[in-house]
């Protein structure tokens, strides 16, 4: 799996962590290669934050091994803290300080790194330099948190749900920044429960559910792994009854699921399946109110693997 010439930026094996009786992580294996953006995906409570906090040296594991940049937390904590960039979920920076003062403070903790002004420019907060943190918008605060993660010129960046709770425009700004870090050759481990975020940003993703990894690969590989090229969704007019079993035997249709009046077909050959579907619905006398086709996403991968949907919050 790993490229032999380059040691892994992060390697986790047989990781286990329980809180009282709840198993948060159950035998996790993970490897992040240098220079890649790796995504940990999963619903809330899947164990993403616990995993990332163990890798950040903030939480201790019950058992298992964690190797970060070839170093070990028990022996090289000081060195590791110099070389990691960390953004935690839900950190509230001091509201009374300005952007400049906050970045200066974090910069002072690191032996080396770019000047504070450079980092502020990088996250596009130059106009907000003298604004108090308490007066920043959600997106601006998140970019300030990223600045604080970047002041030590980190080799490895840990981003825990970097866009949760942001509006679409602020999300896109944060995505642009993360893409820029990746192009600059930084290794990134991020967690998210947004599948579109993972598809857009990550070279590889691991899907976690209930403390275990249930799939790993590039977004393309994972989507291909469910063996579906297209998804066709339709809704019938109110009161119309669709015989879904007859649909399963249509040409090119793999599977049929029905949920809340919407029927979803997993399809390999769209050009054959759609006409066949329309013929069949015509024969059954079902009037359509909606018909959509889309390529499968990581969301569909998660549904295929767990039978459940990922939900925001």
């Amino acid at each position: 799996m790993s490229v032999p010439a380059l040691p892994a930026a992060l390697r986790v094996s047989r990781l286990r962590k329980t809180y009282k009786e709840v198993v948060a992580i159950d035998g996790l294996e993970l490897e992040v290669r240098p220079g890649e953006c790796f995504g940990l995906l999963g619903p809330n409570g899947a164990g993403k934050t616990t995993t990332i906090e163990i890798c950040e040296g903030l939480t201790s594991a019950d058992s298992g091994e964690v190797e970060v940049l070839g170093l070990d937390w028990s022996r090289h904590a000081g060195e590791l803290r110099e070389r990691l960039g960390i953004q935690l979920q839900e950190t509230q920076l001091t509201e009374k300080l300005t952007v400049w003062e906050t970045v200066r403070l974090f910069r002072s903790f690191f032996r080396q790194g770019p000047p504070a002004a450079e980092v502020i420019a990088l996250v596009q907060l130059v106009e907000k330099r003298d604004a108090r943190v308490g007066n920043l918008s959600g997106g601006q605060r998140q970019r300030l948190a990223l600045a604080c993660a970047l002041v030590g010129d980190p080799h490895l960046l840990f981003l825990d749900e970097p866009t949760t709770g942001l509006d679409p425009q602020a999300r896109r700004q944060v995505w642009d920044l993360i893409e820029r870090f990746r192009r600059a050759g930084r290794t990134i481990l991020l967690t998210t429960h947004y599948m579109d975020e993972a598809e857009r940003l990550c070279d590889r993703v691991a899907i976690m559910d209930r403390g275990r990894m249930i799939a790993q690969g590039t977004p393309r590989e994972l989507i291909a792994s469910i063996g579906v090229e297209h998804l066709v969704e339709f809704s019938a007019a109110h009161g119309a009854v669709v015989d879904t079993r007859l649909l399963e035997s249509l040409e090119g249709v793999h599977a049929v699921r029905s949920e809340n009046g919407t029927v979803c077909l997993q399809v390999t050959e769209l050009h054959r399946a759609v006409p066949a579907l329309l013929d069949e619905l015509g024969r059954q006398g079902v009037p359509l109110t909606e018909l959509r086709t889309h390529s499968p996403t990581l969301e569909d991968v998660f549904v295929a693997l767990t039978g459940r949907r990922l939900r925001d919050e």
């Binding site: 935690l88 950190t91 509230q92 300080l97 403070l105 974090f106 002072s108 000047p115």
Partner: protein, 352 residues
């Protein structure tokens, strides 16, 4: 933009301890309420209490008399202002507190004093009135006496009060300043974020102490200076000893604040613990009245409290000019609180 912080060109301002301490000051001065409670409130309190308990010229007590002879006899006493009243008017005046004593004749030459013996003014008026009447009737005093009045600074209530307020203020600002900031940083996960950096953890705690030391100077100057300039409260001990006592007291209370904040996660819980700790000391440690008023059995416990020790030492220094040697026992008590609380706090402290 000229920027310190390039590799190899670090200025003192790039030192994490300097930056952390600057954060403390910024947080403090950008919080108007904190400024009020630390600087303005104690001065208002001292001004208010100083006015309420100021030493007035010896009070003249109003009394009523029912006959011209008695009125005449009482008028010779400077401590009384006498008014001749009819029987019903005298009753009414006594009941409403317009006079504190009514002097009435009775058959057979006896004089009757009517007053409320639970009222100190009534008792004083009776003594003065009786003295005046006996003397005007020709009593000779077997022992000659003279009054010499003493109203010098150092023995007034305001002199007692200012060192008490100073001690109370040092306790409040040290405990709140440290406890609140630490619990708030923990609650907001800011502390967790900080320990994820290479920041030396000791610097984080040290920054609180350093900022405390600077604020301490301003705080002590505000309260003691106000007392000195406005009420003439003496500063008889050396200022260096006073500074040393304030420093030691502030450090002890900082350690106590640190201990209280060492594990708490919410502001509510911290406030509760702070109040439970400070409230008894406000009452028993002699801020507003002498701690000697409490039963003897409690005295050893009261003297072992850090606020009692600090206020006793401050009074000895400011009012009696006592040296540090004289307050060595109190300094010892503060030192024990400092060491024990700090050691426990370090052991219990939760960084996230």
């Amino acid at each position: 933009m000229s920027e310190a912080g390039m590799k190899g060109r670090r200025t003192p301002a790039d030192n994490p301890l300097v930056q952390l301490t600057l954060v403390r000051f910024r947080e403090f001065v950008r919080e108007p309420e904190a400024l009020f409670w630390v600087f303005v409130f104690p001065i208002l309190l001292a001004a208010g209490l100083g006015l309420a308990f100021r030493n007035r010229p010896a009070e003249v007590l109003p009394v009523g008399a029912l006959t011209p002879q008695l009125t005449h006899a009482l008028a010779t006493e400077k401590g009384l202002s006498v008014e001749q009243l009819s029987e019903p008017a005298a009753e009414q005046a006594l009941r409403t507190g317009k006079v504190t004593l009514v002097v009435a004749p009775s058959p057979g030459g006896t004089v009757i004093y009517r007053f409320d013996d639970t009222n100190p003014e009534g008792r004083t008026a009776r003594l003065l009135a009786d003295d005046a009447i006996q003397r005007s009737a020709g009593r000779a005093d077997p022992v000659a006496s003279l009054d010499r009045l003493m109203r010098e600074p150092g023995s007034r209530y305001i002199d007692f009060l200012i060192p008490g307020l100073l001690g109370m203020n040092l306790m409040g600002s040290a405990m709140w300043g440290i406890g609140f900031a630490i619990v708030d940083a923990r609650r907001k996960k800011l502390m967790k974020r900080l320990v994820a950096t290479p920041m030396p953890r000791a610097y984080y705690l040290l920054s609180f102490l350093l900022s405390r030391l600077v604020l301490l100077v301003v705080e002590v100057a505000a309260v003691a200076g106000f007392g000195y300039l406005v009420f003439g409260v003496p500063l008889r001990g050396s200022l260096a000893s006073l500074a040393a006592l304030c420093l030691l007291g502030s450090l002890s209370f900082s350690a106590l604040g640190l201990l209280i904040a060492s594990r708490v996660r919410t502001i509510e819980a911290a406030s509760g613990l702070m109040n439970v700790t400070m409230m008894p000391m406000w009452i028993v440690s002699g801020v507003f009245f002498s701690s000697q008023r409490f039963p003897d059995a409690l005295q050893p416990a009261i003297r072992a409290l850090p606020l009692t020790a600090l206020i006793d030492a401050l009074r000895t220094n400011m009012l009696q000019g006592g040296s540090l040697v004289r307050v060595a026992p109190q300094m010892g008590i503060l030192g024990v609180w400092l060491v024990v609380c700090f050691a426990l706090a370090l052991k219990l402290f939760r960084w996230r």
